[in-house]
């Protein structure tokens, strides 16, 4: 019966009779000292010091990353990691790692470049600090789903192969689909809306999304995990912002509870869940002013280039979050009421005295990065039809949307959270690619 590394201290504390236990895992580190071999064993629960005497069969053949099974007697030892160690009685090498390890799994990743980490992804994912990223990501997905299910949202799974792009034909990956061309979905936008109008009213999806964008920046992936939400019977984007605040607070709470070890490895912390409700909601124009005021102040202290900011670009995102952190105690801000030119054509207009140049839309900015885009959608058939030519679009390219809206569609809207971006910002990763198990960029489709 296998014992996990994290449970050895309990076994050691209870073990007065010197009973043997069995552990299995990877050889994380080997140190020889006066005829004794100290092995740090790594398993899914953590690490454990194993003490092997010189004469133990197999002890001399160990290599880093070998998978071993050890039986031995657990003993308390304050100096050992976790406060206990295992004094080996027998050793089995289940899978001996070749000694020419091309990547040092137990090394300090701060000293390794990102390209090296990604080129050696099969091995670099074994590094406890790197693996921790994906333990956090799993909790984000779990918390996202649980929060929405509790509020009567239904999980959906929609097709990623689509006949055409909802946002026009650019930046789509083309798929050779039998004897025709198809595309990889940029978002489940249309399908989410169909499912709201199907009567499910409230839906969410966790699935890959694709952008055939050529830029290579620390904030872009060509394939990412999109945490999508859509709900019916809303009044404005403010209903969505309220929902997202509750959702983020729950995610932060769950990560704090379940990922304490992972956060510690990265010297990271999540915002206080209670602080999220107080995150400011800033209309676009005001947000731009805040960004410029912050930029001007930063220039005085030499902290910014000082150029004027004309839209909510990455620099503005950083300034607005820093301002929100100072003024509201949380580096999270919702910018809403984006001008029409920045949003998809189906975004619902904001009626402010006739000038419909603003929209019921929003972005969520967290720790200097846009993690969410969302808004209310146009649900009125005639208004949708009238909008198309203003964007140079033709009704015949939107037959799906038109039949969706023509036969009874409630007011609705939604948003998507970029899963890797949220992971990145929770842990303070320099590049979003670090938060993708097998990131896809212009050069990389392997492993």
């Amino acid at each position: 019966m296998r014992c996990l590394a994290k449970d050895v201290i309990t076994a050691a504390g209870e073990n007065k009779a010197g009973a043997e236990i069995e552990v299995s895992g990877w050889v994380h580190r080997i140190r020889e000292l006066g005829g004794i071999t100290f092995v740090v064993l790594r398993d899914r629960s953590g690490i454990l010091q194993v003490v092997l005497s010189e004469d133990l069969a197999g002890a001399g053949k160990l290599t880093p990353e070998s998978v071993i099974r050890v039986t031995g007697v657990p003993a308390l030892n304050e100096k050992a990691p976790g406060g206990a160690e295992l004094r080996a009685v027998s050793l089995e090498i289940i899978s001996r790692a070749a000694p020419d390890l091309p990547y040092q799994v137990n090394g300090d990743i701060a000293r390794t470049g990102l390209e090296t980490i990604l080129d050696n992804r099969i091995l670099s994912l074994r590094n406890p600090k790197i693996r921790a990223i994906f333990k956090v990501q799993a909790v984000i997905i779990e918390a996202f789903s649980a929060y929405l299910r509790d509020r009567d949202f239904t999980e959906i799974k929609t097709s990623k192969i689509v006949g055409s792009g909802t946002e026009g034909g650019t930046e789509l990956f083309e798929v050779d689909y039998f004897d025709r061309k198809a595309y990889l979905a940029q978002s489940p936008q249309f399908y989410k809306e169909v499912m709201v109008a199907s009567g499910l009213e409230r839906v969410f999806e966790v699935a890959p999304a694709y952008r055939a964008e050529k830029h290579d920046t620390p904030r872009h992936l060509n394939e990412y995990v999109s945490l999508d939400v859509e709900m019916g019977f809303i009044e404005s984007e403010k209903d969505l912002i309220d929902l997202e605040k509750g959702l983020l607070a729950h995610i932060f709470d769950q990560v704090a509870r379940k990922n304490a070890g992972e956060l510690a490895l990265w010297n990271a912390s999540v915002p206080e869940p209670d602080s999220v409700a107080g995150a400011p909601i800033i209309p676009y124009g005001e947000a731009l002013k805040i960004a410029n005021d912050e930029a001007a102040a930063a220039k005085k202290t030499g902290g910014a280039s000082g150029g004027r900011i004309f839209d909510i670009n990455p620099e503005a995102e950083r300034f607005i979050c820093a301002w929100a952190g100072r003024e509201y105690g949380v580096e999270l801000a919702f910018v809403n009421e984006f001008p029409r030119r920045y949003r998809p054509f189906y975004t619902y207009p904001l009626d402010t005295g006739g000038a419909a140049s603003l929209t019921m839309s929003f972005d969520a900015l967290f720790r200097g990065l846009e993690i969410t885009t969302g808004g209310r959608r146009q649900h009125d058939y005639n208004a949708f039809l009238e909008t198309l030519p203003k964007f140079g679009l033709k009704p015949e390219d939107f037959t799906g949307y038109l039949s969706l809206l023509k036969y009874g569609c409630p007011p609705h809207g939604g948003f998507a959270v970029g899963c890797e971006r949220l992971t990145q910002k929770i842990l303070g990763l320099a590049n979003v690619k670090e938060a993708s198990l097998f990131p896809r960029d212009r050069k990389r489709v392997e492993p």
Copy 2:
């Protein structure tokens, strides 16, 4: 404050003062009777009878599928569905459906062909019986994930764009990936194994999988949702079968608890969760004999063509499940020890006295359909290298696998449950396409 249809009976029972409530939803059905309009209103919670007097503004303009908001006084009425109705005081048509509805949402889907249902997917998904399929599917996914998380499995999200196929180059959809060719992943097989060996040890993934197969059968989809599991430190495929039994029992339990209404609509039921543990595990050779014995018996009563069955084909799957239902009280059977020629090259050999022509592999058959394929994988570097040429494969095409196994990999294995197939068999759907929101087949990439 909106009241859901399902809560109106409570409101009616408590309402002695005649207080008004508000409901919203779709016009499911309209019936005129002696100057009164009876509307069946549909929302995410169910249906509700709404009584509109002739003189109520807007009552004459209602069309099926319009979205409306009604305020009125709830009243108990034994004859109304759910035992209560709403006597309307005011009506607002939020989104009036055009009267030329191309698909009758409130019709009997048994009278509609599958092609018509799929051609009108945007509207047919509104049919309560069709929508119910996806309420069940959501619970399957939730239960699958929860059961595994409780057992220390970590959810992963792996790339669906891959540089090459792990099972060889056939039946892959090609993607135009910047200036090179890439493919849509047939399964997360390799990535699951990488994550087991990363030290996570136990992982699961819920994600799309792709098969560029040309056949059009009631059991195939070109894109499906794969419920994938992989775990380290197993002895044989029997550890995996044990895990899947627990998993299926939990899924059946959750569907029975959470989808009672949906099951009733389909006149369906799940197996008793307690019966799952008793499902037989039948070695391949024995399974083939059972199938042939059943076929011979069925021939006598005129229930089968009577031809000899040479492998576990769809006919054999039906016979084996019927046999298991009769002999073990559950139409579920695990067939294991498949001959090598039926399984992928990386399947672990079964050591039975030197003849390694059988493998540590299994299928799960449920109600006459294969819903799972799985097995232990080869984790030994040298054995893997030796296997490749026997399958006509070259080491240079498996550099990822080789570096995975070369540097310490525990014994491991896993399986995948086809989400749509499980949904299909729980509800008794004739075709697996019915269990996919937006099914993809040779002809269909829209909507």
